[in-house]
């Protein structure tokens, strides 16, 4: 019988990879932030899921408290990034970084 925590730890690794890919590929700053949030969710899933990898272990309260703090920090960092993206759009008129070498889509 496979433990439930291990499934979510593996899913967390996959989510981290997907978020990292999106962070690199997208040129739009808001989409970069969404991918960054997905990446963070993957890290949180690994952090909570890996201590419960064998069936019957009690959940690790320390890592859960760590994840709780991480969610709040991720939200404040996202809000700061969104404020920067809005300001960049207001100043340049384009939703992309000024030194992005990719062609305009």
């Amino acid at each position: 019988m496979i433990a439930c925590g291990l499934i979510y730890a593996v899913v967390g690794v996959v989510l981290f990879a997907l978020g990292f890919f999106g962070l690199i590929v997208h040129a739009h700053p808001v989409r970069k932030l969404i991918a960054f949030n997905i990446m963070g969710s993957g890290v949180f899933l690994v952090l909570v899921g890996l201590p419960q990898r064998t069936a019957g272990t009690p959940p690790d309260r320390v890592s859960e408290a760590l994840v709780l703090t991480g969610i709040v920090v991720a939200v404040s960092a996202t809000a700061f990034g969104l404020a920067l993206a809005r300001r960049l759009y207001d100043l340049t008129g384009k939703p992309r970084l000024p030194n992005d070498p990719r062609p305009e889509s």
């Binding site: 019988m1 496979i2 439930c4 925590g5 499934i7 979510y8 593996v10 899913v11 996959v14 989510l15 997907l18 978020g19 890919f21 999106g22 590929v25 997208h26 739009h28 808001v30 989409r31 932030l33 969404i34 991918a35 949030n37 997905i38 969710s41 949180f44 899933l45 909570v48 899921g49 419960q52 959940p59 859960e64 994840v67 709780l68 969610i71 709040v72 991720a74 939200v75 996202t78 809000a79 969104l82 993206a85 809005r86 759009y89 207001d90 939703p95």
Partner: protein, 89 residues
């Protein structure tokens, strides 16, 4: 047995929604799919015996972040005429 089926379905949905969030060509669709992703993450936290993290994820991770992302998406991708007068030169 039923729990394992639920776990695998939830895992597959999480990965699929995350992939769609990155692959969709529209910004608004990406934001809405990210909110759906956050709600699925809440179910994952409940399955991991962490109800406090699930509550925080729903309220802050999905609600607040979703509202902020929707506001920014409307500001950036919305009609330019609506921003007139908001930023005096």
């Amino acid at each position: 047995m039923l729990g394992a089926i639920l776990d695998f379905t939830l895992a597959a949905s999480l990965v699929w929604i995350a992939w769609r969030t990155g692959a969709t060509p529209y910004l608004f669709n990406a934001v809405v799919l990210f909110i759906v992703f956050g709600l699925l993450m809440t179910l994952a936290w409940v399955r991991l015996n962490a109800p406090d993290v699930a509550l925080a994820e729903t309220a802050i991770g999905t609600g607040l972040t979703g509202a902020l992302l929707l506001d920014a998406a409307a500001h950036i991708a919305g009609k330019p005429g609506r921003r007139k007068g908001k930023n005096p030169p």
